[in-house]
Amino acid sequence: MSAFGQPSELGRIFNVQRFSLQDGPGLRTTVFLKGCPLACAWCHNPESQSAEPELVKVEGRCIACGSCHGLDESAACVDACPTGAQQLLGREVSSAELMEEVLRDRPFFEQSGGGVTLSGGEPLLQPAFVLQVLAELRRQGIHQALDTCGLGHREDLLAAAALSDLVLFDLKHMDDGQHRAWTGAGNGAILANLEALGQVHGQIWIRVPVIPGVNDDAANLEATARFVARIPGVRRLDLLPYHSTGAAKFRRLGRAYALEQVPAPTPARMADLAGVFEAHGITTTVGGHP
C-alpha cells in the first residue's frame, strides 16, 4: 500500500543501482525504468528501450554445462542457469516493494545529500507508478531526481517534476530532422516540454550527450546553448562525453550498433565545448563533475 492508502502501483524496471554517482548530488540509488519512447543510436542502456522483459546471455559466465538445453528462451532458462549467464532483464515491482529497496541506503543519502533518481528508459512512460514513488519518497523526506528524455505528456512531466527536487533533462539535437534520424522521434514536443517545465521548476540540469559526428557541430551546440540560456529554471548543464559501453550491450541483445568506430571525445575537446555554453552564461560541467 502506498502512503495514501491506495493500492501499490506496479512498474517495470530493469535495475536498481546503488552507490550511483552520476545522476544527481551525493550518493544515490538510481532506479532504471524499462521502456523508452526514443531509441538513441548511442544509448548506453539499450536494454531500457523495450518495455518488455528481454533474455540476454553473458557469454563470459557461461560454462556450457547444458542446463538450459531444450528449454525455451524464457524464465525457465534463467532459473536453470547455474552461473547467472542467462539473465532476464526487466521485472515488475510494486511501488511499495521498490520503496523498501531504495530506502535501504537512506543513511547514505542523509549523510551525503544524496537520494533517489528515477531514470530509464523513460519514467514518464509509467506515470502512475512514478508519481506514486515520488510522492512516497517526498513523504519520507528523501531527495529525489527525475531523469527524463523530455518526451511524454506535458501534464505527467509537470506532475512528476512538482514532486522532484531535481529534474535531469536530456537534450540531444536542436534539429528536428537530425533528432528524428538518431533517436527515432522529433524534438518538437521535447523542446516545448522543457520550455513549460522551465517556467515552473527551478532546479533543472540539462544533460547533453556529446556524440562525435552526430550533435557536436558548432551550429547545433550554439543553438542548444541559445535555447537553454533562456530557460529560467536551468541551474546547470552537463556535457556527457560519448563512450562506447553501449556497444557490448547492443551485441548482447543481438542488435546492431550504429556507432562502431566512433571515438570518445578527448578531455580537451570537451573543455572547448563547455566554453560554448559558458559563453552563454550557463554553468557547465563535463561528465557531471563540477
Partner: protein
C-alpha cells in the same frame, strides 16, 4: 623527507631481517646462574636488568632517536624462555622464500651448544603443551583454533600519557609507597606483592641504566665525530638519554625518546603480541609541540624530522620469528604497532590537532611497513582530518585504517570501563579495543567457524582426518529441518569454545605464576597500586578475546543449505555433504549454482544477513562475560589477521561453493567476490552485526583508483565512512589498487617490493605474501561502479 630522514628510511628498507643470538645467550647464562634463587618476579626483573646491562648498544649514523632491541637494526632477538627454536626452525626461517630471517651458522651452533640443551622442556611453550589435555591438542592440530600465547607473551597493549608528565624515578616513588602500604598481617599475598613491587622497581632501574649506556655511547661517538654538527647532535642525544626515561621529558625530542625507551623495555622484557604502541601520539605530543613552537626551540619541519626518525625506529623492529608449524607458514615482518590519531580527549572533546595533520604527512611521505597507523574518527572529528586521512589512503598503502571512535567508547562502556578511560583508549594491533595504559586485553587465538559447520555436517567427525573430533550431533541424513543443522552447529561451536577457554585458563595461569612482566606492569595502571603483575590481573581492566574467523563463509554456507536443501529441495542434505566431501567432483554446475544463485552476505540481502546476525548473537552469548583468570571476562572479536587462509586450508569444500582448502572470508568482510551490489550494500550488511558488543571487527574494502579521483572521490569515500560509523560500524580499511597492478607485481616482484596492501588488520608488502594471499587480494571485489 629531508636528506637525513630519506637516508635513514632507505637504510631501514635495505636492512635484511636476521635472527640474533645475543639475548638468548644472555638469558640462558642468567637462568643457569640464578634460577631458584629469587621469587620469579624478581628473577624476571633481574634477567631484564642483566639484558639492559649487557646488550649491545647501537646508535646509527645520523639518528636522532636511539635504541635498538637487537645489536643493530632488524637484528631480531629470540626468547627461549618462552619458546625455543629448534635447529630445524632456524633452518626453515633462514631458507623459506617469504619473510625469511637470516640465521648465521654461529647462531645455529650456539643454539645447539647452549640454548636448546638448557631450554628443551623448560621453555614456557613446552610447559604449556605438557599440561594441556589431549582433546585440546587434537582440536589445535585439526585447525579448530589457534593459540596466541603458546609462543608469544600476552601483550596487546598500548601506553597512555603517563610517561609524558612523569619519569621512572616518579614511578619508583609510587612503588616504594605501595610497598609501605602492604599489610603483612592481614594480606596473605603481601609477600608476593612485595616481591612483585621490588621487581617493578628493579625493572625501572634497568631501563634507566640502558638509557645511560646510550648516553655514554653517544658521548663516545661525539668524541670521534669529525662533523661538528653531528657531534653536537650526539651530545644532545646524550643529554636526552640522561633525562628520560628517568625523569619527565621537557621537549618534543625527549618525549619521543622517553616513549622509545619504554617501547624498548617492553619488547626486550618479553616478546608480547603487537609489540607496544604510543597510543594517541598526536595528543601526547601536543603540549611539547606547542611549547616548542612558542619558545622557538622547535619548528614544524624540526618536528617532522624527529617524527620521521621515530618512525624509522619502528620499521627497524621486525617482529619476533615464530617456531614450529608456523615457522614454515608465510608470516609477516610487521609487529603490529599501531598509532592512534584524532579520536577524543578524556573530556569528550575532539582530540585532533595540528600534529594529526603533521603525522598524516609523515605517514604519507615515509609509507613504511611499521608503525601502522589509524585515525579514530568520532562525530566530532573535523571532516578535514578524515579527508586528509582518505587522501593518504588513496595512495594505496593500506593505511591509515579508520575506526569509529564513538563506537570504540561505547564498546568499552559496555565492558564496564569508566567514560574517561574509554575515551583515552583506542585501538591497537589490528582492530582491538582497549583502555590504553590501564588494560590487559589479550587475544587468545582464532576460532574456525566454518569448521564447526563442517563438523555438524559430519556428526562431529573431522572429514579431513577421519577422526571423531567433536561431539556426536547426529547423522545429517536424518536432519529434516534447517533448525537441526543450526542446533548441531551450535553444539559443536559451544563444545570447542569450552575447550578453547579451558586451555586458555591453564595458559593464563602459567603466565601469571611463571612469566610475570614487571616492566610492562610499571606502565600499566593499577599494577603498582595492587602489587600485581600485568599477567596476573594487575591491570585495571582485563578482557580476554576469542577471535572468530569466517563469519562470511559460514553465513553463505548456511544460506545455501537453507535455500537449496530445505526450501527448494534441489538435493538432499546427505547428497550435498557427499558432494562437498568429494570437492564438487563432476558437480561444477551445482557449485556454480551455490556460488551464484544463493543468498550471500554482503549484498544487504536479509536472507543471508539474518543468518549472519544469528550466528553472531549465538557466539556473543556463548563467549561474552565468561570469567577469565585475571578477574576479567571473555569477549568476542571478529578479526582474522591471515588466519582465514590457514583455516581454509583445513576445511573441505563448503556449501557456499568454496572449494576444499581455499581461504575463508576474512574479518566481517563478505566472501571474496560474493558482494555484487556495491559498497553501500556491503556496509549495510556488515552493520547488521551489533559491533558495540564486540571488542573489534574488521572490514576490508577494495577500491580501484578511478573511483577515488579528485575531491569528489574523497567526498564519496568520506560519506561511506561517516555513514558506516553512524550505523555503529567499528572499523573499515581500504585497499586502493587495480587488479592489473597486483598482477604486474606478481610477475615482477623485484620492481614492486614497495607495494603495500592491506591484508587484514594490517598492511604488508604484497610481494612478501604467499601466493594464496596474493590471489585472494586480487579476487576481492573491486568496487568499481562500471564493473559488470
Amino acid at each position: 623527507m629531508n636528506e637525513r630522514t630519506a637516508r635513514l628510511r632507505q637504510e631501514s628498507l635495505d636492512a635484511v631481517p636476521a635472527l640474533d643470538p645475543e639475548r638468548a645467550l644472555l638469558m640462558t647464562a642468567f637462568y643457569r646462574e640464578h634460577l631458584g634463587k629469587h621469587p620469579v618476579s624478581v628473577l624476571r626483573a633481574l634477567a631484564f636488568l642483566d639484558l639492559c646491562q649487557k646488550k649491545t648498544v647501537w646508535i646509527g649514523p645520523g639518528e636522532l632517536i636511539v635504541g635498538e632491541r637487537g645489536p643493530r637494526p632488524k637484528a631480531v632477538p629470540t626468547y627461549p624462555e618462552l619458546t625455543c627454536h629448534t635447529v630445524e626452525d632456524l633452518r626453515i626461517l633462514d631458507t623459506r622464500p617469504k619473510t625469511s630471517y637470516r640465521v648465521a651458522e654461529e647462531m645455529v651452533a650456539a643454539y645447539e651448544r647452549e640454548v636448546i640443551p638448557y631450554w628443551r622442556g623448560r621453555s614456557l611453550r613446552d610447559q604449556i603443551f605438557a599440561v594441556l589435555p589431549t582433546d585440546w591438542h587434537e582440536a589445535y592440530e585439526a585447525g579448530v583454533f589457534t593459540e596466541f600465547m603458546e609462543q608469544r607473551a600476552p601483550g596487546h597493549t598500548v601506553l597512555d600519557g603517563k610517561i609524558y608528565g612523569r619519569g621512572l624515578r616518579d614511578f619508583q616513588a609510587d612503588i616504594a609507597a605501595a610497598k609501605v602500604a602492604l599489610d603483612f598481617e592481614r594480606d596473605s599475598e603481601a609477600e608476593d606483592k612485595r616481591a612483585q613491587l621490588e621487581a617493578m622497581a628493579i625493572s625501572c632501574e634497568a631501563l634507566i641504566l640502558l638509557a645511560e649506556r646510550h648516553a655514554v655511547e653517544a658521548e663516545r661517538q661525539a668524541e670521534v665525530e669529525p662533523d661538528p654538527l653531528r657531534a653536537a647532535e650526539l651530545r644532545r642525544i646524550a643529554e636526552v638519554c640522561r633525562r628520560v626515561p628517568a625523569q619527565a621529558p621537557r621537549d618534543f625530542q625527549e618525549a619521543l625518546q622517553a616513549y622509545w625507551f619504554c617501547h624498548q623495555g617492553v619488547i626486550t622484557e618479553l616478546n608480547g603480541w603487537d609489540a607496544y604502541s604510543p597510543g594517541h601520539l598526536d595528543q601526547h605530543l601536543w603540549p611539547f609541540y606547542q611549547r616548542g613552537l612558542k619558545e622557538g626551540s622547535l619548528t614544524r619541519e624540526g618536528a617532522r624530522e624527529l617524527l620521521a626518525c621515530f618512525f624509522v625506529k619502528f620499521n627497524n623492529h621486525t617482529s619476533p620469528s615464530k617456531v614450529g608449524v608456523t615457522a614454515a607458514e608465510s608470516g609477516t615482518y610487521t609487529d603490529f604497532a599501531n598509532l592512534n590519531l584524532g579520536g577524543l580527549l578524556p573530556d569528550g572533546s575532539d582530540g585532533s590537532n595540528e600534529l594529526t595533520d603533521l603525522l598524516l604527512e609523515v605517514i604519507e611521505e615515509l609509507h613504511l611497513l611499521q608503525p601502522s597507523s589509524n585515525v579514530q574518527v568520532s562525530r566530532k572529528t573535523p571532516d578535514a582530518i578524515l579527508k586528509h586521512a582518505l587522501k593518504v589512503i588513496r595512495n594505496g598503502y593500506g593505511f591509515p585504517s579508520l575506526f569509529n571512535a564513538d563506537a570504540v567508547v561505547e564498546e568499552q562502556l559496555r565492558q564496564g570501563k569508566s567514560l574517561e578511560d574509554a575515551r583515552a583508549g583506542g585501538c591497537s594491533g589490528c582492530v582491538e579495543v582497549g583502555a590504553f595504559g590501564k588494560e590487559a586485553y589479550i587475544l587468545t587465538g582464532y576460532f574456525n567457524l566454518p569448521k564447526m559447520l563442517e563438523l555438524a555436517l559430519h556428526d562431529g567427525l573431522d572429514p579431513r582426518t577421519g577422526r571423531q573430533l567433536g561431539p556426536r550431533t547426529g547423522d545429517p541424513a536424518t536432519f529434516t529441518s534447517f533448525e537441526q543443522v543450526i542446533a548441531a552447529f551450535e553444539v559443536q561451536t559451544r563444545h570447542f569454545l569450552d575447550l578453547k577457554i579451558r586451555g586458555n585458563q591453564v595458559i593464563e595461569r602459567i603466565y601469571a605464576t611463571r612469566m610475570p612482566a614487571p616492566f610492562l606492569s610499571v606502565l600499566t595502571d593499577d599494577c603498582i597500586k595492587t602489587g600485581r603483575d600485568y599477567n596476573a590481573g594487575g591491570a585495571r581492566y582485563n578482557n580476554t578475546f576469542i577471535q572468530a574467523v569466517g563469519i562470511g563463509s559460514v553465513t553463505d554456507s548456511l544460506a545455501s543449505l537453507k535455500q537449496q536443501v530445505f526450501e527448494r529441495k534441489t538435493l538432499a542434505l546427505a547428497e550435498l555433504v557427499a558432494v562437498l566431501d568429494a570437492d564438487f567432483q563432476d558437480q561444477e554446475p551445482l557449485r556454480q549454482r551455490l556460488l551464484h544463485k544463493t543468498p550471500k552476505y554482503g549484498n544487504d540481502d536479509d536472507a543471508a544477513d539474518d543468518l549472519m546476525v544469528r550466528v553472531f548473537r549465538f557466539l556473543f552469548e556463548a563467549i561474552d562475560g565468561r570469567p577469565n583468570g585475571k578477574g576479567g571476562a571473555y569477549r568476542v572479536e571478529m578479526l582474522p589477521t591471515t588466519c582465514h587462509v590457514y583455516f581454509g586450508s583445513v576445511c573441505l569444500a563448503s556449501a557456499d561453493g568454496r572449494r576444499a582448502g581455499e581461504p575463508l572470508s576474512e574479518g566481517i568482510s563478505p566472501v571474496q567476490g560474493a558482494d555484487r551490489h556495491g559498497p553501500t550494500a556491503v556496509l549495510r550488511s556488515a552493520a547488521k552485526m551489533d559491533h558495540v558488543k564486540t571488542g573489534g571487527t574488521l572490514l576490508n574494502m577494495k577500491f580501484t583508483p578511478s573511483l577515488l579521483e579528485g575531491e569528489e572521490g574523497i567526498d564519496r569515500l568520506h560519506h561511506l565512512v561517516r555513514t558506516y560509523f553512524k550505523l555503529d560500524g567499528h572499523h573499515v580499511q581500504f585497499n586502493v589498487v587495480t587488479a592489473a597492478k597486483l598482477r604486474e607485481a606478481q610477475a615482477h616482484p623485484e620492481k614492486n617490493r614497495d607495494l603495500i596492501v592491506r591484508v587484514a588488520g594490517y598492511s604488508d608488502y604484497f610481494c612478501d605474501l604467499s601466493l594464496e594471499l596474493q590471489e585472494e587480494i586480487i579476487r576481492r571485489t573491486e568496487h568499481d561502479t562500471f564493473a559488470g
